[in-house]
Amino acid sequence: MIAFVITTIICFIIYLLLTTGSGTLGLWSIEEILLGLILSLITGFVTRNIFVKKDLRMLNPVRWIIFVWYVIGPFFVGMAKANFDVAYRVITGKINPGIVKISPDLKTDLGITLLANSITLTPGTLSVDIDEEKNDLYIHWINVKEDVLKGDSVDCKYICGNFDKWIRRIAE
């Protein structure tokens, strides 16, 4: 039941966002609102088990606030740094690439997806593959610091800074 309600509400919000400017009732016309309600009820009924899995921890609004703060704060700064880093390497041609393994020790699918996407968009790193049993990530690192290559995997802080701590707060 709660999965059906969540899916319907999110479908309805997306429908409203895509049909702005259609009438005089606020930004929408009454026909659009009614049709959107019917369509999102149908969609919510059909896809409720796909969209919402068993755990409901992402319903907590605090997690969403932390997520938005993470995207506009540390993530955006990391991305800006990444671009100047790429600019430097494009101009000078200094690269020292390699594929290393990190063990961020995240448990949920959402967390590992967020971390892999964050890693791809931040300085000098690109996620290549994932070990689905242990949630280890294989990272292509454009400028390998050879003195940190000890043993099997590299410490997370050289690759992704403190992103894993942020994501643990958001998704776990």
């Binding site: 966002l17 895509l18 702005t20 400017g21 930004l27 991305m79 800006a80 990444a82 671009n83 790429v86 600019a87 390497r89 494009v90 041609g93 690269i95 020292n96 690439p97 390699g98 594929i99 290393v100 393994k101 892999a116 996407n117 791809t120 968009l121 000098g124 690109l126 996620s127 290549v128 593959d129 070990d131 294989y138 292509h140 454009i142 390998v144 050879e146 290559l149 099997d152 995997s153």
Partner: protein, 128 residues
């Protein structure tokens, strides 16, 4: 006046980073380093370009045109889609390249290679 100036500045920043991504695609040696240029620079540049379009839409909305609201909200939706799909696509391309045997040029270390070699050795031993 200053608002249009802001829009042009955002557009210029975005175009600069997209050009940087293009130059990177031409200058880097192999598929992985090219993906570095291709994902980071185009995503960052597209944030600024969509930002300028959103500002233009908000200005039109403020001046009384409902088309402005459509432009602003739909462009914000496009920005979210870019942020989600661009790194995911790069990850898919990199994974496919490594699976089909493309080695990173000048690699100092390749943990993934070691892992797949170990796996094939294990398989062969099991077959025996």
């Amino acid at each position: 006046m200053w608002f249009e100036f802001l829009i042009y500045i955002l557009l210029a920043i975005g175009v600069f980073f997209n050009i940087l991504g293009g130059v990177g695609l031409l200058r880097f040696p192999d598929v992985y380093t090219r993906l570095h240029a291709g994902t980071k620079c185009t995503t960052f540049g597209s944030i600024f370009i969509t930002g300028s379009v959103i500002l233009l839409g908000l200005k039109m909305w403020y001046l009384g045109s409902t088309d402005g609201s459509v432009l602003a909200i739909h462009t914000a939706g496009a920005l979210v889609a870019i942020l989600l799909t661009n790194p995911t696509g790069a990850h898919a391309i990199a994974r496919a390249a490594h699976k089909s045997g493309v080695k990173p040029v000048g690699a100092v270390v390749d943990s993934l290679q070691d892992k797949s070699v170990k796996k094939t050795v294990k398989k062969k031993e099991e077959e025996k």
